[in-house]
């Protein structure tokens, strides 16, 4: 059946190594016009690598042949790929982490590399010169955003003032402006809340069944099965199997992904919403710009408190305010631990009182990418292994780090491996290792399973549950309803900077009950 369809991208015998690690082993991939191809696999399976090579982000170590529209394809950069190597309608990629530049405006990001077209004057030759006509540029940017259904982003706004979802949407607009024939969407939906995802799905549907094609990468099995026409599973740099829609079977796909049956519970199995009486973290009447409008809550010992809502509901700001990373205009955050009560005014106080914070923006805020696994894990736990109050003894530090690597099964060559070379899931494990290892009693987890494969997700859920049972308190901020329902003792739903509704853990709780309060 596939042979009747027109091939748009064909890769044969692609191998890619990063230093000691082989990310792709002699892989073949075929993409057909009109198709929405899903790529799924555990972190580090090679999904991003193969697509990023096709999109010009990096070069293959070895490739037998790579053809786009029947011609040899070897883009020198992402821009080159996007422009079809000069022939138009190329391959565009929306990357997993931020692909925009913070220091310039939204419009400048969208038209990066082609600002000349907005210069005021034009030579006869067609070459432009003089200052940029910003009005014209902003108008064009607004049109580009509206073309994909976004009308709430100001093209003149500095990129840094936008939240993660908005930045992602700008990136999508930027790629689509070039009218590529193939788009690669790499783990993008996890950065988007409900409304953002709808925009993305609309775009995918516009490509479906046309002369164009989409490669969609996601860890969310339900989502990928719904969105994609065919599904290719990768594991350890190899293509394991390609499923047609008719063959979709979640268990089969999972098995292909992890190479074994998923053992044990995925979320916690109990529906017992009990927790300790002792309040360990509380806030009252928190106000922070228009993100938090008088939020108050209490987190108890041994409780997993879920916070849900749409991207702009204020829940991400709440996490930062609770950890002292943002100072509220009014209201206080109080932490109680063995040492007594304290007002959380900054991160340092929070840490002194055994609080830990996992940011949604992992690569920017939770990890030092250029540093090693050891550096990242050890930094928060120095009090645990320091000699006296001051001295760091290398063997003790290594032992401490190795314990975290061991207990969280972080896949790495050694503790000195740079975190940047790890897959998303293993990166997140490092973040968990950093905060769990140092003995955090209160953990604020903002989208802790974003960009993480199901195997790692399961491990993290089990870890959260174990921590709960040990009496630790967890504030779980999430955009994924099943995760909130599957893990939380209580769920607080936020909308427009306010807590709108509280749900207790229950077998009968459904998405529909909750979503009504979010939208």
């Amino acid at each position: 059946m596939q042979s009747e369809r027109q091939v748009i991208l064909q890769i044969k015998g692609m191998t890619k190594t990063f230093g000691p690690v082989t990310a792709l082993k002699d892989v073949d991939l075929t993409l057909y016009r009109g198709d929405v191809l899903g790529l799924i696999g555990e972190n580090g399976s090679g999904k991003s690598t193969i697509t990023s090579i096709a999109a010009g982000m990096q070069k293959a170590t070895k490739v037998e042949s790579m053809q786009y529209k029947g011609k040899d394809w070897s883009p020198s950069s992402m821009l080159d790929a996007l422009s079809g190597c000069g022939e138009g309608k190329g391959i565009g990629m929306i990357v997993q982490e931020s692909g925009t530049i913070a220091g310039i405006s939204v419009a400048e990001n969208i038209f990066l590399g082609e600002l000349d077209r907005f210069r005021v004057w034009t030579f006869k030759s067609g070459k432009t010169f003089g200052p940029i006509n910003k009005k014209k540029m902003f108008k064009a940017a607004k049109d580009a955003l509206q073309a994909i259904g976004i009308d709430n982003i100001n093209p003149a706004a500095p990129m840094a003032t936008l939240d993660f979802q908005a930045r992602k949407l700008v990136e999508i607009a930027k790629v689509l402006l070039k009218d590529p024939d193939v788009i690669v969407i790499d783990e993008t939906s996890t950065a988007l809340a409900h409304d953002g995802r709808q925009i993305l799905y609309n775009i995918i549907n516009r490509f479906r069944g046309t002369e164009k094609a989409v490669i969609f990468i996601s860890h969310d099995l339900d989502e990928i099965m719904e969105v994609c026409d065919t599904l290719t599973v990768l594991r350890d740099g190899n293509i394991i199997r390609t499923f047609d829609r008719a063959e979709y079977d979640p268990d089969e796909i999972r098995k292909a992904m992890i190479g074994r049956e998923l053992q044990g519970d995925y979320y916690r199995s109990d529906y017992d919403p009990t927790y300790g009486e002792e309040v360990v973290l509380a806030c009252d009447n928190l106000v922070y710009g228009d993100r938090l409008k008088g939020v108050g809550l209490q987190l108890h010992k041994g409780e997993i408190l879920g916070i849900g809502g749409l991207a702009h509901c204020g829940m991400h700001s709440l996490g930062k305010v609770l950890f002292g990373a943002l100072s509220p205009q009014s209201g206080t955050v109080t932490v109680t631990d063995r040492g007594g009560k304290a007002i959380v005014k900054n991160e340092s106080i929070a840490m002194k009182h055994a609080m830990g914070y996992v940011s949604k923006d992992r690569d920017t805020e939770s990890l030092a990418l250029s540093a090693s696994i050891k550096d990242n894990i050890a930094i928060a736990g120095m009090d645990k292994y320091a000699v006296g109050k001051f001295l760091i003894w290398d063997p003790l530090e290594k032992k401490y780090v190795d314990e975290q690597i061991e207990s969280l099964s972080i896949k790495c060559s050694d503790r000195n491996q740079a975190v940047s070379t790890l897959s998303g899931g293993n990166k997140q494990k490092v973040v968990f290792g950093k905060w769990v290892g140092c003995g955090s009693e209160i953990l604020i987890l903002d989208c802790p399973t974003r960009g993480v494969d199901i195997g790692v997700k399961q491990a993290m859920y089990q870890l959260m549950y174990k921590l709960k049972q040990e009496g630790k308190a967890i504030l779980l901020i999430s955009e994924e309803m099943p995760e909130l329902m599957g893990m939380s003792d209580r769920i607080l739903i936020m909308k427009d900077g306010e807590i709108k509704k509280e749900f207790l853990r229950s077998k009968d709780l459904s998405d529909a009950d909750i979503i009504g309060y979010m939208i």
């Binding site: 190594t17 990063f18 230093g19 000691p20 690690v21 082989t22 990310a23 082993k25 580090g44 991003s48 690598t49 990023s52 982000m57 990096q58 990357v95 350890d236 740099g237 950890f323 990373a325 900054n346 991160e347 340092s348 929070a350 840490m351 002194k352 914070y357 940011s359 920017t364 805020e365 939770s366 030092a368 990418l369 250029s370 540093a371 090693s372 550096d375 930094i379 928060a380 120095m382 320091a386 001051f390 001295l391 760091i392 190795d402 690597i405 061991e406 099964s409 972080i410 896949k411 790495c412 060559s413 050694d414 503790r415 740079a418 940047s420 070379t421 790890l422 897959s423 293993n426 950093k434």
Partner: protein, 340 residues
Amino acid sequence: MVNANSPVSASASINKYKVKSIAIAILPLAALAFLFGLFCIVVTANDYNLELYLTNVINRGTVLVLVATGAIFIYTLGSFDISLGASTLLCATVGVLTYNSTQNVFLTVLVMFAIGVGCSLLSSLLASVFRIPVFVTTVAMMSVLSAIASQLIISNGSGNGLSLPKTVFGPLDSPWIKIAVIAVWVLLCAFLFDFTKIGRREKFLGANPFCAKLTGISMYKYAIIAFVMAGLGVVLGAIFTLSYSPTVNTGTASSIGMDILVAIVFGGMPISGGPRSKIYASLIGGFSYVLLNLTLNIVLRMAGVDSQGSQGITQIISAMVFLAVVYVASMNYRAKNLPR
């Protein structure tokens, strides 16, 4: 080895990778050894006095290494202090003025400490108050400090500069004392850098200040610590400047700020700071830089280039070596940071 099940097993390439990493790590030391050997060959082949030339190397390298070692703390933060030369000049100038008006060595040293550390603190506090990058304040500080020092030299000295009796710091002008002081200072800094929480936090701040902030590390507290350490390096540098030449002029230590940058990169310090920062980069790089300059100077003069020309060509070659070192170092870094 911990959990050795790498994402994809590749034991053969791991070995190659490790060999490469180790090779890059020891490259600065190997380069120093090579330069030292080359220098000795060139000097002895010319029948120059090797002992005097080696003393010259120590004299030229001492102030550079002392100031650079303190400066590593600032560079580790991913920041940059171009005002260290001007700080050294001001510190030495005020030291001379203090001694000349009090004849009290203890007070002189005390005042020099206050000036050295004070200038550094002022840079970091200005950065903190105005919330601008530290290196920006140091650019401004460089102008201000050298202007103040020049004014003090001109208004208090004769046209030739401002002099201190040789007896004050002159006794320190011995290669062995210099080697001992360098050793103690480098070891002290290495201890702080590698065996204390301060060092770990400094490095982490350099790696990612946002993440460091969310790990409870105060940028400003550790920037102040870094600047205090740099200030101490400046004080030592100023003392040894005066021990070698008891006269300060408007041009004294003027090139230190840029020399430090080049030297520590020669020594294997990543220009972006962070966890791969090394204290000993100042020691290795400082002396490598001095040896490279002197060796090139001799070789070029032998090849018929005059001293002025050789000075220029030496600078060009140093710049090329600088770029090559940064390139080789970044090759390792880039290999580790490609997207997965």
